[in-house]
Symmetry: D2
Subunit: 397 residues, 4 copies
């Protein structure tokens, strides 16, 4: 039998659960793209986006996924032959690195493995060695969705400042924007990349690049028409916001999502909710791990993302658990990503749980509850008291 018939719950690390209000906002007739409701609305959208990114800088909106936003950011910052330092803590920093490389940049990648954040000392050593300032950009992810590690972005800025290194600091916040605290201006980030489908609770299809005047001043002449961030950030005509036809329905969806953030009490309230929910999940993971094979990929809570937690079991139990909770309980967990060769037996150890966006206490407890059922059903040992531990964290609200 199955107990899955009810609301499906997608707890992968993005796309996240779409709010009914956001879906309703997309359920509308096509608007005029030259004047009227759409044009009026977009004028107010950009400031609200910047507020979520905590920047007074510039914002360019792209019809693209996160990979497109990566390419947009790269196209506007490096020219062929420029050197780029990538501080890799998982698959996604590596992915962005490939985008830079395809644009002709010379890549210097420091790999911190799959369970650690950036080691600032090593980053400092590398930058200090670049006495000629050939490195034009230092690239990192805030949260790597594959490992669920969180990097110390202000620490990176401090390293650059200490060395007086002029490289741009470029951060991928695709999985962290509107989830983990992030302060673009206060932290001295020059370029930040994000997308719609995670903390912003909008279907995949919009990418965002935020940049400051310093980055703007370095824009190479090689930036392509579509990726050029200048007209998007300072359009003379409405269509320039989007380099052509506006993504009409997504924009109304994003407007609704931003309204929901405001109604919740603003971005700090959203951050606080995510932190509490993440801590509840970790309390359960910790307790289960005391009596069984479950381990969180990142041992130190201070280094963990509030958006997603990467986990491992033994044998093929990661995959078995995912299958069980989906088929029996209506919960879809994320596959492990970048931890082992896809399709290899090793890959079946891993899984991830997304806890970002439109998620509240009963959803989180429901996901944890049926994971415990899965352990029980599959004979995977687990420590006691996990759900109560999570419930107690929720009780602090």
């Amino acid at each position: 039998m199955t107990l899955s018939h009810g609301r499906p719950y997608l707890a992968i690390p993005g796309p996240s659960v779409m709010p009914d209000r956001v879906l309703n906002a997309m359920h509308r007739a096509a608007p005029n793209i030259y004047e009227g409701a759409l044009v009026d609305m977009v004028a107010g959208l950009v400031p609200d986006l910047k507020a979520v990114a905590r920047t007074k800088g510039h914002a360019a909106i792209y019809i693209a996924n996160g990979h497109g936003a990566w390419e947009a950011a790269a196209s506007n910052t490096v020219r062929p032959g420029d050197k780029v330092l990538v501080l890799s803590t998982g698959r996604f920093a590596t992915g962005w690195s490939e985008v830079f490389a395809r644009l002709g940049a010379r890549m210097q990648v420091i790999d911190f493995g799959k369970q650690s954040p950036i080691d600032l000392a090593r980053a400092e050593t590398a930058l200090a060695a670049d006495t000629g300032h050939e490195i034009k950009a230092v690239v990192a992810v805030h949260i790597d969705t594959s490992t669920s590690v969180k990097n110390d972005v202000p620490g990176l800025r401090a390293v650059l400042d200490k060395l007086g290194h002029p490289a741009l600091l470029m951060i991928d916040c695709i999985a962290s924007l509107a989830v983990d605290p992030f302060e673009m201006d206060a932290w001295g980030v020059d370029v930040m990349v994000a997308a719609s489908q995670k903390g912003l609770m909008t279907p995949p299809g919009l990418g965002f690049v935020f940049f400051n005047d310093k980055a703007a001043a370095r824009q190479p002449e090689t930036a392509s028409f579509y990726w050029d961030w200048t007209p998007r950030a300072k359009p003379d005509f409405f269509y320039q916001y989007f380099g052509g036809t506006a993504p009409t329905h997504h924009l109304f969806a994003l407007r609704e999502a931003l309204d929901m953030i405001a109604e919740e009490g603003g971005i700090e309230a959203v951050w606080a909710r995510h932190e509490k929910l993440a801590r509840a999940a970790w309390a359960a993971f910790e307790a289960w791990g005391q009596g069984g094979p479950l381990e969180m990929n990142i041992a130190d809570p201070a280094l963990r993302s509030h958006a997603v937690t990467a986990l491992r079991l033994d044998g093929d139990n990661g995959t078995r658990l995912r299958r069980w909770v989906e088929e029996k309980a209506g919960l879809t967990l994320g596959i492990g990503l970048g931890m082992a060769e896809p399709g290899s037996p090793e890959a079946d150890r891993f899984f991830r749980m997304g806890h970002m966006g439109h998620i509240n206490a009963h959803m989180l407890m429901g996901a944890l509850g049926v994971i415990e059922s899965g352990f029980e059903a599959l004979g995977i040992p687990y420590g006691p008291g996990a759900l109560n531990a999570a419930a107690k964290v929720i009780a602090e609200a």
Copy 2:
């Protein structure tokens, strides 16, 4: 702070959670009501409804809520002056009784209190005393949503058969249809009343009356135009199905809900899911009650509804808990109903949890999880191991 921002979860005893597919089915242009898609569809709807009700008898669909369906059933079965025996096990049997009374019936009500099912022996005594067969209808609810008790319908039929009493057996399945096992024909039920918004996962607005040939033969001439079940069950023209304009959007919604039941594996699969989920909830309630004030209203699991559980705490903790889980966790529980004077301090002890319709394992575990958080936050004592106990029942799936 609040952890409620995410999908709201309405766990009251109806209306139940509406599936996205059902809502989508209602999101359509108005159809022609004389020919075409709507007319074609309704022809197949009625047999599927009967299959869910387990009857080869007749079905009449009303644009009405459950109270309307009560009145429809009453109008087609009794005339002014007829005697009706109501076997009351909570507020809803009493409510139906009032409807009969307003139509001029003479009511004989046996009240079995708020924590017990019908005592068949007492029912037998009452019927045996009716040697002149003045009682034209024996009326009961299958599940009373206020007390969450489940009555023994085949047992009632056996009493009538034993006595050779010709009264119609009329059962309210508003809260049990497509939740608890019910066999209209096999159990010898003559008239059954249901509604759209509970197990049938369709917004409130449709009421159903199922009846057999025996009941049809007794229809009084006093049945009103709107309530008359004959043209609705055997229409010569399409509009007669609905005594006028068809409830267009609800019908497409109901069609989708019936399709979902079929896709799950039919009504037996739906029953099995509800039973397992109810047992999981009870396991948690039982465990919590071992170390605190929580009590289920119906002590014997065999007498409990699979659709809703009525519970009590002490003091005003029922209301405090409801408020906490709604404001902090996004879960809405039901108020106690009919257990105490509305608005009285006593009323604040009670609450109910609906677990009917479009509900699966993670939803149930999520509701239970945040109830435990509520106990913790509010300082309400509770026994240990409740969530694990529920998870273990789910694991049997």
Copy 3:
């Protein structure tokens, strides 16, 4: 080939075209029916409904179609044996008459045929003959959707006043509310019946009965539980508004529709739009009729409904035209109703065009345009200049 692929356009005399906003308003999770958003909203809904009905009297909302609202009104005004005078101008007055009759009323029906309004002189004669005031209610439709005639409601009141006859004046505005000017209080109407699916642009499923203190004072004790308008109009508890579970989704739909009426500029603006659109349609019908068989059922424009126009062609051309515009052009017209025996060859002469509710100038011109195409394609003669004549009326806006 077909040119029907595009937005279907349902121009039958109800249900009318559902606005996207109304459908969106129904696309929502089930709300709590004891407190919160739904309860808060309904408090404001009733005054807005009354404003549309132009009354300071009482309003009772029913989960029902128009036939249900008929029965509600009848149940609250007559007792078995009461005499009711029905002034019939088409199928719907006759229909209401049957509802009264089934409740035990003695019916006196004056039939004014299918092409004429009520003859006030004949009505006066009948009432004057009732010296004993046995007639308890005078019943008429404002607009009969079958004939599209409009009756002189203030004239009826004047007759009653002249005679000092105390009968209740009961008017069916199902097809005219929020379409044709109607002033319940100013015109001295005691009971008015309406429904959701025409001028109110909400799917079928809600019926309304408005009544004044005079009508309230005459309520018979025989009113049934479900139809009793007293608790619905003056509820002590929220559920009494609806005699049980609220029609949750329809209420949000109706709220949106009432907001749309307000945004248009209020009910007078809505009336003015319907009048202009009706006059545009009539200009075309008139011109076509100059050179072909088309005739409007009601010759005098002052007696025509603004909601629907009943038309006739010759032979089976009514049906042929309906089929052609639906299959080739995506427009669905209404069948003739009550003009000939259903299924008879004669019935194929007739058709009706609804022009009520969410309809604007391009929709009306589109319907007229493809009717002219249909004439052309089917070889039905038609006079010239019809579309230009309609366009000129629109140009007056």
Copy 4:
């Protein structure tokens, strides 16, 4: 007063009217992007897209608007320094030219003005002069949405073949795909670019590049990560279809739109509908022009797009007419584009009417009808019989 309250009708040259079914298809929970319904569906989507494009070649889907698809096509075909011949017949060919230029191509633009198609003789002369085959691509639009001219694509292929010129033939079908007949393979087109929001009836946000083996073989190494068409056309992993996260909701929308095309009878039926509707519109435009200032931009019907018609009036009557039909009648027409300096008095002469996608006979006749009303209301002279002329074309269906 206004007669605009009803369904808004957007008759601009894209985005086109979104079908309810397409919007419903987007109204769904976020799907898993690694396996399940989305992944299964996309496998069938690509062949159906190719069928609409009439090619057995390759298809790459981009999250992008048409400008993004332009850049994708350009990135995969030219390297910096390559020469590109652009045959410009309006603003959009010029726009694509800028995209090529920004990628470093050397542009040779032949401008055929704003009222003429490509002159094949001049194209031949230019290509014949390129004896060294420096021209790597010949670029044109099938339909230019600004001028509404249609170019002779097979004629262009014939010129290239006659000269034995190896340049790629690259065609923009953004406004013509699924509207005007187009045969990618039969016409020898090497690269074709399209987008979702016009004939494909899906909100803006998807761009498409179709290419054959010849084009694939010439892909430069400079193609960027995001634009590289190879993994999108031949993905090893699902995410490669979209260069990262899939545009989940748009894909379900597109699936529905393709289903609607199939249900209509396939792409030929869609073409035939558009041709008939365009001819009906032209019949009205022609007739109005006989007695007033209205002129179609393209005089020869054989050279006109079936998707959009560019028109001119005198003085500022283009803008006045657009305003009138929107404010009074609920119809939104398109502004003139590229015909005069934006904001200049001259620009107010022009307007365009889109007649593409989800459009049927009553919609078209409705748009024409209220344009005639606008002429009347604004005192713009117009010839007689226009609407009847259009209706007669519709009657041929």
